[in-house]
Structures are given as C-alpha cells and as structure tokens.
Symmetry: C2
Subunit: 123 residues, 2 copies
C-alpha cells in the first residue's frame, strides 16, 4: 500500500476541488457514472484504450467513495457485481466538470498554438 508522507493543505477551495477532480481520470469516471456506466469493468473498458489501468480506476473509485462523492452498491453472487452511483455531492460536480471540459475544448487550439510558438522561439 501507498501512504502519503506530506500532509495536505485543504484550507484552499481549489485544493479541495482538485482532490475530487484533479486525478488523471477522476472527472472522466464521474462523467461515466453519470452516463450510466456504473460497473468498474465497464468503466475500465471505456478508457483503457487511452492508457488507464484497472488499478488506477479502482483507486480513484475508492478515493471518490471515501470522499462521499460516490456510493458503492454490491450485488452478491458469482460473478460478483458492483455498481457505483453519484451521491448528491457527486452530482454537484457535474456542472463544474462540464464547464471545465467546455472551456478546454474552446481554448484548446489557442493554447496549443501558444505552445508551438514558444517552441519555435527557443529553437
């Protein structure tokens, strides 16, 4: 297991926000679950082509569950089945995630152009 050594400072609202949406796949996971893709294996399949390993999905799911953003429901049986749902707070992230996603898509071309110029300027 992995244990943090530096205490986090969560006085800042942005830091709190980043804890929930800042991971590499967290925002995507939240969107998936909202879209009805609730089972870990399905979520993984959704984004394994992008390089997400099942381990990281599992870790993010657990973190989000611990934070109270997700609620986990277990259906006993073989094979075992698990589904995750958004809690009320989980729901409250959706407008924010949507806004971030839209902003990124809108500004993408501009921002990447900026990068390219900087690259050319230093070569």
């Amino acid at each position: 297991m992995y244990e943090k050594k530096i205490p986090e400072n969560l006085d800042c609202g942005i830091s709190v926000c980043m804890k929930v949406m800042g991971g590499k796949w967290k925002a995507w996971i939240i969107e998936c679950i909202h879209d009805g893709i609730k089972r870990p294996s399905k979520i993984h399949r959704q984004m394994e082509t992008e390089g997400a390993s099942l381990r990281v999905i599992t870790m993010h799911l657990k973190e989000l569950e611990d934070l109270g953003v997700l609620y986990k429901k277990i259906y006993p049986g073989t094979p075992l089945r698990v589904e995750y749902y958004l809690t009320e707070v989980g729901m409250s992230t959706l407008p924010l995630i949507k806004a971030m996603s839209q902003w990124g898509r809108e500004k993408r071309a501009y921002l990447l152009q900026g990068e390219r110029n900087a690259y050319l300027a230093t070569n």
Copy 2:
C-alpha cells in the same frame, strides 16, 4: 532542465483545462495577477508562507506565458522589473477558477467528514 518523456493527450477538454489550472499554484497565480500583484517577487511573497518556492512560481509563470494565458512585460533597468498580465484567454479562466474555489469551500466539510469515516471504518 526538465523534459517530459510521455506525450500528453490533449484531445480531452478536461486535460487542457488541467494543464492551465491543475498545477499546485497556477490558479492562485492567476488570481494574484488579476488582483494586481503582477511581479514575480510579489507573487512569491504572497504565498511563500504556504511553501511555494520561487523556482516553482517562475516555472508556472513561464508555462502560463507559453500557453498564452499570461503576457509578460519587461521594464529594462537595474534592478530589472517584470510584470505579468492576463491575456483575454487568461481572463476567461477567472469565472472557472472562482467556481472551483467556491465549490471546494462549500463541500470541504462534507468531503473531509467522508474521509474521516473511511479512516475510522478501516481501523
């Protein structure tokens, strides 16, 4: 110098957004500049008590400048003076940053409570 070894995938709007606001101090830096604290030394003083080193501030400033979020103005002379301004795209981050910050402050207590419960449950 530090050089990335894994190419980034910026097809996703969230990733683009995180590139601009996801660093440890980037959002704070953008807020500072918007508040009229434009010089690197001032920005640093603003948050060195929180542990930000001048090096990281400089790096973030450069990154944001390269992306076209900030514009850098140099006043020659001794001592050298530099000021950073928000570009139009830089300005467009403000509502988003404000929204994230507010969300974090609102949900902070709930999220931390969730963490505490998870901790108790496993001990």
